[in-house]
């Protein structure tokens, strides 16, 4: 993922793409490129959530030890 977006910016871009698609603002030429990009953004956001959940579980363990 270029430029390492934040979760927030990735989510905003993803929403924009879905919105553009829903409102037929995307040319067929761009469609597969846009969908590919949206998938990459989705993957990125999911990875972020997964990492946060893992971190939280780890933190939970640390706090219990404390």
């Amino acid at each position: 993922m270029e430029n390492q977006p934040t979760y927030k910016s990735a989510l905003a871009e993803l929403r924009q793409i879905v919105n553009d698609l829903e409102h037929e603002l995307v040319d067929i030429d761009e469609l597969s490129e846009k969908v590919k990009r949206a998938k990459a953004l989705l993957d990125f956001c999911r990875t972020r959530i997964k990492k946060s959940m893992d971190d939280l579980a780890e933190e939970d363990k640390t706090l219990k030890d404390f």
């Binding site: 979760y7 989510l11 993803l14 929403r15 793409i17 879905v18 698609l21 829903e22 037929e24 995307v26 067929i28 469609l31 969908v35 949206a38 998938k39 989705l42 956001c45 999911r46 959530i49 946060s52 959940m53 939280l56 933190e59 939970d60 706090l63």
Partner: protein, 386 residues
Amino acid sequence: MATKSYTLLELNEYLKRVLALNVRDAVWVKCEITQANITRGHFYLELVEKRGEEIVAKSKAIIWAREAVKLNKKLKGILSQLLQPGIQVMLQVKVNFHEVFGLKFIVTDIDPAFTLGELELKKRAVVSKLKEQGLLRKNSMLPFPLVPQRLAVLSSERAAGWHDFLAHLQNNPYDYVFDITLFSASVQGELAVKELVKQLSQIESQKDEFDIVVIIRGGGARLDLVAFDDEHLCTGIANSSLPVLTGIGHEVDETIADLVAFRALKTPTAVAGFLIDMMIRFESELNRIVQLLQIAAQGRLKTEQQRLENLDRNLKLAAKQLVKQQSMTLSALEKSLHLLDPKTILNKGYSLTTKDNKIITKSQDLKSGEELTTILKDGEVKSIVK
């Protein structure tokens, strides 16, 4: 005329006889002690009676060591505390006149109830004075720290209560750490008030280094606690910038120090228990917050996850929809094109007339004798205009 005279011994012997005959039995006398010294177990007292500040009577008295032991036993060990300067006492004395040592009272008994009553009156006077000055509740109005960990302890390093307190805090099963500084002072006897006041003001000058003040002792007889009813000390406690906890006695005693303190606990151990409980409460609150934090964080992540799933679904739907829409547009275009195709028109029976490869649409564009080409569904026909 020869004046009748006596030798000193004769006079003193006479006085001794007069006294012995007239004041034969022991009598009870109410007086104030101004001096009390103990030498080889004997108590040497100076007794006075005052009207206001003026001394109107003064005598010396002695408690012989053997008598002192008996009295101390009767008074449950508080004899030396009872015989303090400034204390009103009721003593049973035998009047004794010695030819060499002069007039002395020999103390044979003490009424402790009288002295305690006097002390109680004095105590009430101090309480009402502190009340008038608004000092009774002053210390208890201070904010109490959530985690009282830095303790300035006012006690005697010899007091059993101090050692109980220390042991209880240091051996707490939760491994809480307390930073304890002892400000040592006598907690009973003549020097107690002076030392306690001095150390309390020392603590006040280092107030930023501590969270609270703890005053501990360790029970004992009512009179042992007299220092803790002192007006000066109690004013200092009331005015302390730090909350003061007391653990002074372990009986039914309540001193004025207990009244003016932030909180009075029965014993030094009870003070330690109170402090440990505060730490437990604080830790539980922390744990509760941590749990809330975890629940909130998990909730937030779940929401985000759901949001992503929705976006994923919408993306797929929108992409399919877009493709479908475009296909439909293409089909419509295709249909229009087909309808507009000249072949379709020729197939329907229409024909196309051309001259020199140009389509002729008006009759006046043709002249007689010119050659036309008519395009039909299946071929061309040439003809001449007439």
